[in-house]
């Protein structure tokens, strides 16, 4: 006899539960956590290096590096003298809550203020999987073109911050930053947008200031909860 069985279950619920576990751990440690996403080569690792240089005197930072293969990025970040752990997804196109959870043992969370997770280079899949982060930030480089918001809407919808990178290349590429901004804001009016160049350093001060504020807000929350 054929049975029809109603289920109505969220396919990603298992990941959501793990992400919530991670979120609780991060909150307890008073950490601010960002999930950094972009297509391959947009400048995630370069942005991390620049961010570490800008904030290392005042903020204790750690990095989780997600890549399909290799430990190249973790070695780059490790040279900066911050805590870093490399995650290899072994073919998977995104990080998920479980991978993050399994990497936390390798980090001394009590000695961190800011944890930055570099997701696998991919403009599609990472947007669908929460990791327990406070916010998602995405990088789009001008070399990728101003049409990307139209093609990868979910990532723009999910992100709190958009960093438009490689603005030093603007004279050489067909990219209308005004259009890029407009298209991104049509998808998500709350996006905070920074135009930067990780090569020249242009625009990175505003990004660092913004991030510094988020970290100090988190500390204030934690102190408020203690008193």
């Amino acid at each position: 006899m054929t049975l029809k069985i109603p289920v109505v279950r969220d396919i990603l619920a298992a990941n959501e539960r793990l992400a919530e576990d991670n979120r609780r751990i991060f909150r307890q440690a008073g950490l601010f956590v960002i999930n950094l996403m972009s297509g391959p080569g947009a400048g995630k690792t370069s942005l991390l290096e620049r961010t570490i240089d800008a904030l290392r005197q005042e903020i204790r930072m750690g990095v989780i590096e997600g890549d399909i293969q290799s430990s190249y990025d973790a070695e780059r970040i490790g040279q900066k003298g911050v805590q870093v752990v490399q995650l290899n997804t072994g073919g998977s196109c995104h990080l998920d809550g479980n991978m993050i959870k399994s990497s936390l043992d390798a980090l001394d969370l009590g000695n961190l203020d800011l944890l930055m997770v570099e997701n696998v280079g991919n403009l599609v899949c990472p947007a669908e999987f929460n990791l327990g982060e406070d916010m998602k930030a995405m990088i789009l480089s001008v070399a990728e073109g101003d049409d990307k918001p139209l093609k990868y809407p979910l990532m723009f919808q999910e992100s709190r911050v958009l960093l438009i990178n490689k603005i030093d290349l603007l004279p050489y590429v067909e990219c209308d930053v005004g259009k890029m901004r407009e298209r991104a804001l049509q998808l998500n009016a709350d996006l905070e947008i920074f135009e930067v160049s990780c090569r020249t350093g242009e625009g990175l001060d505003s990004w660092a200031d913004w991030l510094r504020q988020r970290v100090s807000d988190r500390k204030a929350e934690l102190d408020g909860a203690k008193t």
Binding site: R9, I11, L12, N15, E128, P153, L154, Q157, Q186, L187
Partner: protein, 113 residues
């Protein structure tokens, strides 16, 4: 591209529910996929077929319902379907809107024996 992990999660749900309902063979699975979810139907079918081989869901048909992206304006309250990915209210132009549907990724039901 992450259809493989989505297909595995679907199977996990199906295996669990089959056990609960004493189903030994799954014939079809009904899914809801929002238009904004980054999942491609054809790729999901392919991954599901691959992963379900040798399990009680082998050969099961996937019935996929795609759900349009709809929103409600926080300012004027009007409800609308999002056209061409413009997330502003067509009535009053406000960008302050809540998404009502379009992100679905769920197993709705399945048929088995």
């Amino acid at each position: 591209m992450h259809e493989m992990s989505i297909a595995q999660s679907i199977l996990d749900i199906i295996f669990q529910e089959s056990q609960n309902h004493k189903v030994s063979r799954v014939l079809s699975v009904s899914l809801k996929l929002g238009e904004l979810s980054a999942v491609q139907s054809e790729s999901l079918r392919f991954c599901f077929e691959l992963l379900s081989k040798g399990t009680l869901a082998e050969g099961a048909k996937l019935d996929i319902e795609r759900v349009q992206v709809t929103c409600q304006c926080q300012e004027c309250g009007s409800k609308f379907t999002v056209q061409e990915l413009v997330f502003t209210c067509p009535s009053c132009n406000s960008p302050k809107i809540d998404m009502l549907s379009g992100r679905e990724l769920s197993v709705e039901s399945f048929e088995g024996e």
